[in-house]
């Protein structure tokens, strides 16, 4: 579906697969994932545990475990990262892509003062001297909402709550003014107002710096209203990719629809039973043939269990989904209705 253009997308992922040896044979963590991310675009990646969303961004960042067998290509601004030597690749990624990890408790070094950790990347990649790096670090700590930033510069990670640690992590990721910021469940453990403030902050930075951003999250509420596009992953595969509004208004893949209805809602009374998805996430070690969601899907037909559905692309090219029995396109999200928008793909 990628339309060749004179300008490279910031990030192009092509047929990316990743397998990790496990006790029960190779675990197929990622299978044949392809997408492109234009410049200055916010992308959400959602899915359950084991869907491969974390591994996808780790593979992009070249920090997948060394025993992982990776195939496919990742291009940053047209440059195939695999063609670079390891050192250049790591420097390029470290300089141009910032990453905030899932667990701030284990991402910060407990023996190093937080200020040093925030400024580490800017000293290494931007060549700032100690004073400039320090000023930048304090400014970043303030920007991510740490009270008493100058004092906290000298603090150690254990002196901060989980939310504060995650803010420090975000300051660390922003140290090199990255073109792409990847936040892997970065706000998952934060309070609602803090989460909102941090997402606001990320969004402001993303728009002001015309930076691209990938928000990896299990919470569909996080990507709604804050991203331009959403990718839904399941069992290591990309199952749906659409503009955010359209994904929520008229999901085509059955799994996306099931996820949406499993969310607790504030307009329902207490003790309302939540819709669940029966069964277990698929085994990555012994993937069944066919659609990975088929064993849990209420609408599965024989074809679903026989072969992986190919990616269907809507008429305007902006909505992709891999489902043999897709839900109807809603009136508002109908591809043919939205045809004029296809021009700006």
């Amino acid at each position: 579906m990628t339309v060749p253009s004179d300008i490279h997308p910031l990030l192009a992922v092509e047929n990316l697969s990743c397998a990790v040896p496990g006790p029960a044979g190779a675990m197929r963590i990622l299978t044949d994932v392809s997408f492109t991310l234009p410049h200055a675009t916010a992308l959400g990646i959602v899915g359950e545990s084991g869907a491969g969303k974390s591994m996808l961004v780790k593979t992009i960042m070249d920090i997948a475990p060394s025993r992982a067998a990776v195939t496919g290509a990742v291009r940053l601004d047209g440059t195939a990262l695999q063609s670079l030597d390891t050192r250049t690749r790591r420097t390029t990624l470290g300089r141009r892509v910032g990453m905030v990890f899932q667990n701030p408790m284990t991402s910060l070094n407990p023996f190093v003062r937080v200020g040093r950790q925030v400024e580490e990347a800017s000293r290494k990649h931007l060549g700032l001297d100690r004073r400039a790096a320090r000023e930048k670090a304090i400014a970043l700590l303030r920007a991510v909402g740490i009270p008493d930033a100058a004092e906290c510069y000298h603090g150690f990670p254990h002196q901060f709550s989980g939310g504060m640690k995650q803010r420090i992590m975000i300051a660390t990721a922003l140290a090199c003014d990255p073109e792409l910021l990847i936040a892997d469940e970065a706000t998952t453990a934060l309070d609602a107002t803090v989460q909102k403030d941090i997402l606001d902050l990320l969004q402001t930075l993303q728009q002001r710096r015309r930076m691209s951003m990938i928000l990896v999250t299990h919470n569909l509420g996080v990507v709604a209203g804050r991203t331009d596009e959403v990718i839904v992953m399941y069992g290591g595969r990309l199952v749906e990719h659409a503009p955010t509004e359209r994904l929520f208004a008229s999901p085509r893949h059955r799994y996306t629809a099931a996820l949406l209805s499993a969310m607790p809602r504030i307009d329902q009374p207490a003790h309302t039973r939540l819709a669940t998805i029966p069964g277990q996430p698929p085994s990555l070690a012994h993937p069944e043939p066919g659609c990975p969601f088929a064993p849990r899907c209420p609408a599965a037909i024989d074809a679903c269990r026989a072969a992986m559905p190919p990616m269907t692309v809507s008429a305007d090219g902006r909505h992709r989904f891999a489902c043999h029995v897709p839900l109807d396109a809603g009136i508002s999200g109908d591809a043919s209705v939205r045809q004029p928008e296809a021009a700006n793909v």
Partner: protein, 354 residues
Amino acid sequence: MSSDAPSVTSAGDLGYLRDDAALKVRNLTVSFRRGQKIFNAVSDVSFDLARGETLGLVGESGSGKTTIGRAILQLVPAHGADLGGAITYEDDDLATLSRAQMRLMRRRMQMIFQDPVSSFNPRRKVVDIVGEGLEIQGMPRDERRRRVDQALADVGLSRAMVEGRRPYQFSGGQCQRLAIARALALGPDMIVCDEPVASLDVSVQAHVINLLQDIRAARNLALIFISHDLAVVRNVSDRVAVLYMGRMVEIGRADDIYRAPAHPYTRRLLDAIPVPDPARRIPAGEGGAEPHSQLAPPSGCRFRLRCPRADALCAEVEPQLRPMAQGQYAACHHPLPELGQGNSSRPAALSTPA
């Protein structure tokens, strides 16, 4: 102001406190010393919990919700912390219990921790982790095995699925189910759930919430449900208490609070819920004021520096919990909504969010 409610403590005539509750927390204060500095994690918090009831505790990082949960189970480290107030469970004052008595009490009161992965010993097998509490209680081996099997079944796992495996071999959702199983194995009648679903995926979260609800109903379990996710709290809670910087700023029936929050902080929390509605395109950069340093809380109302309704009174006088027209109690000089300051009539015009 609340003459109909029995006064049970020196906390004043707080009508939301009940005499017949199973758990009573009265004027709980917890402070930690850090060098010369004193950090008041919890200041004068009183609430209670009836059998089979679920109380949601919500608030930001550092609001004291986890500390309250730990204080209830007497898990606040004795070193460097000062505790004030009283916690009674079924008329036992927990502070006066010996270690052995408290150990017995923990059969009835259990806790599920925030981060299941780090609350497990990574080198133990999960079957032993689930049976850990029973082991500490000196339960015979056969009984232990039976109870572990039952607890695993209750959370949708089986011995065959977990036998011989260690925590790192499980996903976050599975670890959280194991943590629930560990608590359930003891057969408690109250569980403090500290962010039990915070790091779980949506469908797993739905499973765990439904699971907790089923177990709660089946065993008439009382739950303290600590969470930052107000949508989840809405689903599980009968009553909700909102904490801000160690103080309780609002408490009442979940229906009342979600329909018409009285405290501006509660309003802000509700506005921050990430709603899966992309039409609500969130304008970037409207983030509120930074949280105030907690080592030196502001005078008067602690929320006033972030509050759009604050005035001179808020800086001088710390507001106390008082009954609101909507039904709940809130500690605010200028509560929401503007209308209906009358004391008895409930504002009928307020509509439920659609």
